[in-house]
């Protein structure tokens, strides 16, 4: 069982998790669980499955419930499929004051989906998120790992065109 679930994690992901394990005391493998979940999520196209969560538990010698707790607590772990380009739009105060409602509306119109949905071709998804800490460059959004700041409808169109 352990061997089987653990085999869901690719060798590359395991090597990456092992690098994170080196940062923590040898008897504190659990400290690497956040990194491990992120790594297997990336390996799986941006979202986690129960099988992957249990594979992480097996790999780090943790109880599956302890990994589920972490996976369900932090907002960057996704539990259903997301688009290849997962667009996170900040709508908190500084962005709100500078037009994040318009950013969200523009994205929804251009992509033909609502927040929380994925485009039919699986290319894009939109998620409303809390403050991403780029308040002096509001409004902003994050796509994958990259921040896109000081957004305008034109700028959003350019970014989307590049990704299509």
């Amino acid at each position: 069982m352990t061997h089987k679930t653990s085999s869901l994690i690719s060798d590359e992901s395991k090597a990456d998790i092992d690098r994170w394990l080196q940062k923590y005391p040898a008897d504190k493998k659990q400290s690497a669980v956040m990194a491990a979940l992120r790594i297997v999520q990336d390996q799986n196209g941006g979202w986690l499955t129960p099988a992957l969560i249990e594979a992480v538990a097996a790999y780090l010698d943790m109880e599956p419930i302890a990994v589920y707790e972490v996976a369900s607590f932090y907002s960057m772990y996704e539990h259903k499929p997301v688009g290849k380009h997962h667009i996170k739009v900040c709508t908190n105060i500084s962005c709100l004051l500078r037009g994040s409602d318009a950013v969200m509306a523009h994205l929804e119109k251009q992509l033909g989906i609502k927040k929380g949905q994925v485009t039919e071709d699986g290319l894009f998804s939109i998620k409303e998120v809390e403050c991403l800490g780029a308040c002096v460059n509001a409004p902003m959004m994050q796509i994958g790992r990259d921040y896109h700041e000081d957004l305008s409808p034109e700028k959003i169109d350019e970014i989307l065109a590049r990704l299509k």
Binding site: K28, M76, L96, C131, G133, C135, A138
Partner: protein, 432 residues
């Protein structure tokens, strides 16, 4: 004067300010080298920090020198007992308070000041290991910081027996995964341990029971990054940049309705009006309506009050709010205060860790009541109910998130009551 502490290395005309070479060209790592070579006593360094009146830049404003002093053994017996005990220095780069984005710039433009600051802290408190907790969304800042760590190791500035002085110091980055609550220091420690970020009961405080149960000091990114500049000059120098009890320059993130939103490093005690000017004034020629001076959890102030305050802990407290993390959110006269508060209330509802009933349930109540007011379904008793729920959260939770959720509600309604009343009576905004 400006840009003398954390932004000393981030001059806009300086390319690649984040490299080791750029940092060393401006005197970087001289302080830690001097400390290590001369074996300066930790007590001396702490005294210098106390003189500087450096206060925690993450929001609480606690004296940094005093915090570090908790890690020193009280007497010879304690010194003997603590021998060989692993201690930790932890940096809080889990920047997530709405309106705050200064630590991101330190990580991006001046990561070596943070590394040197953490080394000095490690030496002073006796910690041979450090962790920098960076929020998970900050991928680029994380990479900058990792690159800087690698440079420092390569140059022999990190690792074992640094510069042949017998001092060992290892530094690692821990990446978060999206949780505002991990900015609370004990939630942050839980998170490094690989758990849900739920704050711990205090006492015991981290100085006695911290990361992995070991003595730990946790400081904010800007706090630690200020230390090398302070010790390179003197505590007196830093104090004199600001004013008594409010030492130094500080980063202020000015966001919202201004012409030039940006991070400004300015002396403590600078008039708010001057900072607003630096940011180009209120945008589009509009009038100032309200200011949140220290990040979303600090009470909102009316324009006329804000225009009379200075940007330091004591002056902002006297004006009825808090300096917090120095996150100045500017609102012009077109701002719908009900909508703005509803957004903030939703944030705290979203980010409550769920541990304490008053916060878990109370933030839900606040959000739902504000939501119905915003959608034209407000009831006459709602303002009293909001006040009531807020007051039942305040002071009744393990950590400060409960207070942080309640304070905006109380202050928005107190200062802009007529807007809320209008919404309840007419089902729409009285603004615009």
């Amino acid at each position: 004067m400006a840009n003398q502490v954390c932004f000393k290395f981030k001059q806009h005309n300086q390319a690649e300010s984040w490299t080791l070479a750029a940092y060393q060209a401006l005197g970087g790592y001289k302080v830690i080298k001097k400390i290590l070579n001369e074996k300066i006593a930790p007590e001396t360094l702490i005294a210098e920090l106390k003189t500087s009146a450096l206060r925690g830049r993450g929001g609480a404003g606690f004296s940094t020198g005093l915090k570090w002093s908790f890690m020193l053994p009280r007497d010879e017996a304690a010194r003997e007992r603590m021998k060989g005990v692993q201690k930790y220095i932890v940096c809080n780069s889990d920047e997530g308070e709405p309106g705050t984005c200064k630590d991101r710039d330190i990580l991006r433009y001046n990561p070596h000041a943070l590394i040197e600051g953490m080394m000095i802290a490690g030496y002073t408190i006796g910690a041979s290991k450090g962790y920098n907790y960076i929020r998970g969304e900050f991928w680029q800042p994380y990479q900058r910081f990792e690159t800087a760590i690698a440079e420092a190791y390569k140059a022999g500035l990190l690792g074992e027996n640094i510069l042949n002085t017998g001092f060992d110091f290892d530094l690692y980055t821990h990446l978060g995964a999206g949780a505002y609550i991990c900015g609370e220091e004990t939630a942050l420690l839980e998170s490094i341990e690989g758990k849900k970020g739920q704050p711990r009961f205090k006492p015991p405080f981290p100085a006695s029971y911290g990361l992995y149960g070991q003595p730990t000091t946790i400081n904010n990114t800007e706090t630690l990054s200020s230390v090398p500049s302070i010790l390179a000059n003197s505590g007196e120098w830093f104090l004199n940049l600001g004013k008594p009890n409010n030492g130094g320059e500080k980063l202020f993130s000015v966001s919202g309705h201004v012409e030039r939103p940006a991070n400004y490093e300015i002396p403590m005690g600078t008039p708010f009006a001057d900072l607003l000017n630096m940011a180009g004034g209120v945008w589009q020629g509009r009038k100032l309506k309200a200011v949140i001076p220290g990040g979303s959890s600090t009470p909102v102030l009316k324009a006329e009050i804000a225009m009379k305050m200075n940007m330091d802990y004591d002056s902002i407290a006297a004006a009825g709010s808090m300096l917090g993390a120095g996150s100045v959110i500017i609102m012009d006269d077109s701002t719908d205060m009900v909508k703005t508060l509803a957004r903030l209330a939703h944030f705290y509802y979203d980010e409550s860790c769920g541990q304490c009933t008053p916060c878990r349930e109370g933030t839900g109540w606040l959000t739902r009541i504000l939501h119905r007011i915003l959608h034209g379904e407000g009831r006459p008793e709602d303002l009293e109910l909001l006040d009531n729920v807020s007051n039942q959260i305040m002071g009744n939770t393990i950590c400060a998130l409960g207070d942080a959720a309640a304070m905006p509600v109380i202050s928005f309604i107190k200062n802009f009551r007529e807007e809320f009343q209008y919404y309840i009576e007419h089902g729409r905004s009285m603004v615009g």
